[in-house]
Symmetry: C2
Subunit: 189 residues, 2 copies
DNA sequence: TATTGTTATACTCTATAACTATA
DNA sequence: TATAGTTATAGAGTATAACAATA
């Protein structure tokens, strides 16, 4: 073995609430109890991580992972898109996408169809059950959003979004615009 | 004996900026281009993830990972604490902590000492090089913080922290207070 | 020859639990 | 017997690259 360090992790999975969310790895924070504590970077990162974790828990009853949710949503928004097109949108390697689609297809939430124009590609469509589950997941997501904003009034909510976007723009993010990346969102994990 | 280190490559390369930070997996986002887009949960999660990723890149030149940074910082704040005490603070399993300490000790950034009062425990101390590297890392972290807040004035910065803490409190977080968790912070990943 | 989807292989990280040396 | 640290084993997840079918 090597030792090395360890590095990354990510994880996922598991979670529920374990300290180290499944694989969600988590690198490390800038401080333990010193100055960086009231830092914007540290705070945004911490809260964002907690939100992602909670979102995963929220979806757990549906047996759905955040990335699966993102995939169903992407297909719903553009039915008939190819597997690799979806992979590109969600920033998931094509080889990984196979397993994701396999799992959801086995549960009959979506189906692969052959594209008559190009028999190499497989187009993706949600099944009725898939639409239903997605709708349910969207309700849960909306409820979570309400819960998160319980201590904010409308103006404060908009202000928070504005401030966050300014921070995000410093990193090249264009949140609130579109473009999503399966892992950037409530992903973390 | 413990590991050989010899491997050190991982560090580098990994992430830098690859879509999937090292191993940072990333679950998934709540939406692809629909409603959840201007959602607080989605935005906080996305920005937090980006910040964590950037923090990792910021530390890369020092060959330091976020969690290693957190460990050095924890030791600095409480020199002489035991390995397992540090593990508990950072929410890292004791068995994993071994590799972390091994790596940093091999680089002579910290050292293990025996506790004369209880020879089972190993107390941790930073070496001069460790203090130096940590100081350097703190400078980089401060620079990142400034960069992130470049579009905010003092009042806006405080306001953002306040709003984020309100969201965090909905999840049981007590950011800005203390208590850190190696992975929650600029960790994510 | 290039591309889509798939499979195969190797590697990393993690957790669990055994093991040692102390107490 | 219990605890701090260590090591060993096994498993989950990913990336890389090789592969088949189609273009």
């Amino acid at each position: 073995m090597r030792v090395d360090e360890t590095t990354k992790q990510h994880g996922e999975g598991d979670d529920e609430d374990g300290p180290w969310p499944g694989g969600v790895v988590a690198p490390a924070p800038p401080s333990i109890d010193g100055p960086p504590f009231r830092a914007v970077g540290f705070t945004v990162s911490s809260v964002g991580y907690a939100v992602a974790r909670r979102f995963r828990q929220t979806l757990a009853p549906l047996q759905l992972e955040p990335r699966e949710f993102a995939l169903l949503r992407a297909i719903s928004a553009a039915e008939g898109l190819s597997q690799q097109a979806a992979a590109e949108r969600l920033q998931i390697p094509p080889s990984r996408m196979v397993a994701f689609v396999d799992a959801l297809e086995a549960r009959e939430l979506l189906e692969r169809r052959h594209n008559p124009l190009d028999r190499r590609t497989r187009t993706l469509y949600l099944t009725p059950a898939g639409h239903e589950l997605l709708a349910h997941a969207l309700v849960l997501a909306a409820e979570l959003e309400n819960h998160l904003c319980a201590q904010l009034n409308g103006a404060e909510r908009e202000l928070l979004l504005d401030l966050l976007q300014r921070v995000g723009s410093q990193l090249g993010l264009e949140v609130g615009k579109h473009a999503v990346h399966a892992h950037s969102a409530l992903a973390h994990e």
